[in-house]
Symmetry: C2
Amino acid sequence: MLTIKSTHYDYKVSFINNINESISNLIIKGRTSFLIDKNVWALYSNELYLQDYLDDVYFVTAVEDHKTIYDVIDILKIWQVKDIQKKSRIIIFGGGITQDIGAFACKIYYRGIDWYFFPTTLLAMSDSCIGAKCGVNFNNFKNQLGVFHAPKEVYIYIPFIETLKIEDIYSGLGEIFKLHISKDAEHYNYCKKSFEELGNLKAYIKQLVYQSLKIKKEIIELDEYDTGIRRILNYGHTFGHALEKYTNNEISHGIAVLWGMDISNYISYQLHYLSEKDYLDIKNVIKTTFNLKCPYVTDIDKLLQVIKRDKKSESDFINMVLLTKIGNLKLEAIALDKNLKKILKDYFDESLGFFSN
Amino acid sequence: MLTIKSTHYDYKVSFINNINESISNLIIKGRTSFLIDKNVWALYSNELYLQDYLDDVYFVTAVEDHKTIYDVIDILKIWQVKDIQKKSRIIIFGGGITQDIGAFACKIYYRGIDWYFFPTTLLAMSDSCIGAKCGVNFNNFKNQLGVFHAPKEVYIYIPFIETLKIEDIYSGLGEIFKLHISKDAEHYNYCKKSFEELGNLKAYIKQLVYQSLKIKKEIIELDEYDTGIRRILNYGHTFGHALEKYTNNEISHGIAVLWGMDISNYISYQLHYLSEKDYLDIKNVIKTTFNLKCPYVTDIDKLLQVIKRDKKSESDFINMVLLTKIGNLKLEAIALDKNLKKILKDYFDESLGFFSN
C-alpha cells in the first residue's frame, strides 16, 4: 500500500485481491454511482457483483474522440437526472480516458464530489491513477481543458492485466520504463531485466507497478500542481504527444512516449548532455522489447507546428525534458531552429534503419 | 489592503484610486485578455484606457440566464481561437455573474490560468470577490456546476458604485448586513448606523466594504473549501436561493438574502434560539432601509420542494444557518415537517402586514 500526500487530502493506493469485497465496502446505498468503461464491462460483467446497481452505472465509450468536454457534460446530465448529490461517491472502472472524463466531471459537479478509482489498464495502474491531473479534449485540442482532482482512494487489481491487448501492455510498460529511467540505475536495470523476460511478465508486474507509483509519488508530492519538478515527468511527452497527433492517435500513448524518449535522448546526445552509450543502451531496450513501427516523419516543419500548438510550447522555443544520465533529467528550452531540424532529420534517417518498420 | 490566505496562493485585495494605472501594471503584451460585462463597458469605455486592447476583450452578457456551462464554453472557444496560453492572464471587470463564468473558464482552461478581478458591483466588492467559489447554472439548476479558483489579485475601485442602480446597491448592502450581523454587536451597530444615513452612504461605503471583506476573510481562511465553519456564510441563503428560484430571479441576490435572513430569524425565534427583541430589531432595519416587496408565498409545499432541490438539502431535513444572537450563528438540521410549515405560514401571514407590499 502507498499513501499519496496531496494538498487536498491524502489518499491510499491499495493492491487488492478480492475486488468484490473492495467494491462492496465502498457502496453506500442511494449515494453511489458508477462509471465503467464499456469494454471492461463486456469482459467483467459476470465477475463484478454489480447486478443490483445497474441503474446506477453509466457506461463510458473510452476512446480519444469521446474524451471531450461534451462527453463530460453528457455524464453531468445523467447525474442531474439521477439526482446525484454533493455527498455521493462515484466509483470509476477503466483506463486513463475513463479516469480523465470521470474525474473532470466529479471536479466540477457541485464544486467537487468524491471519486474512487479501479484502474483497469497497466498505464492507469502504474502512472495516471495518482497525481490528480485530468484533461479532456476541446475541438481537437488534446487535453486543453483540465483540472486537478485527486481520487479518494485507488484500488489496484492486477488480474485486470490478463485481458489487456498487447498494445495496452506495451503502452503501460512505456510509462513504467520512463519512470524507472528517471529514478536511478538500479531501477533502470530492474526494468530492463523484466523486459528481457517479457514472457514471464507476471513475475514482475506487481513490483513494476508498485515501483512506478512510488517513483511518481516522490515527485508529485513535491509539486502536485505541476509548476516545477513535476515537469520532468513530461520526459518523452513533447514529441510523444506530437506523434500521437501527427498519426491521428493511431499509436498508443505509452508507445508514443517511448518514441518521444528516444528522440529526446537523441537530441540530448547531439547536444552532448547524454553519452552515446546511454542513448544506445536505452534505444536498444526499446527496440528489442517493443515491436515499434516507427513512422518516418517526412514533414519536420509540420511536426514542429504540432508541438508549438502543444500546451508546453512557448514562442519559438519548446521546453523539453532531457536525460543527462540514467536517473538524471533536466528541463531545457530548445530553439525551434535549423539546428533542431537537422538533428530531427538525422534522427529519422538513422532510426528508419534502426527500428523494424 | 487585505491579504487573503488561500491553500493555493495568498492574494491581495487593494483599494485603488487610479484604475488605469492598476490596469496598465497588469497588462503583459500578447499575454493578456479581458472579460468585461457589457453594461460596464457601456458606462466606462471612455474612462478605461483599453482602446489598444479591444481585440483582446470579450464582452459578457451578465444575466442569470447566461451564467451557464455553455456560456463558459463560448468563452473557452474564443480563447482557443485567440491562442490564449497557460501563462496568459485574464482580467475581469464585472459583478458576480461575470466573475462566476470567468473564474470557472479560467479554472478549467489548461488546468487553471490566472485571473485578476476588478469587481464593479457592491455585492462583488464586498463579498464574492474573495473566497474562490464560483458556480454556473446547468439546465436550470442554479450553481450546480462549480469550482474553487482564487483570483491572483483583486482591485476595489469604489467609484464604480456611483453608476449602480438602487437595486444593486441594496443587493450589496444585503450581504454586507449579513456579514456584519455575523461578526458582533459593534459591527452590527455600525452597519445599522450607516443604513440610517443611507443618503450619505458615500461616507461609509469604503469602510463597509473593507469590514465585510475582513469578516469574510476570517471565515474563509479557516475553511476555504466550505466543509465546516464557512457554511455559516449561508445565513439567509437557504430561503434566499429558494425565493430567487420561486420568483424566477426577479429579485436580486442580496435582497433575497435579506428576506432569507428574516425568515431564518423568525424560525430561530420560534424555536426559542433567538430573542424576539433581536428578531424584531433586525427585521426593523431591513424594513426601514430597504423597500422590500415581500412576495406572499401561498404555496409553501412548492417553496420547500425548491429548497429540497437546492444543493444544501438532504433527505427530509434542510441544513439551515440560524442566528442565536447578534454575532452568533449555528448550523441546524431542520425537519421539513408540519411544524416548519406552520411556522412558515405564520411568517407569511405576519410579514405581509409588516413589509410594504
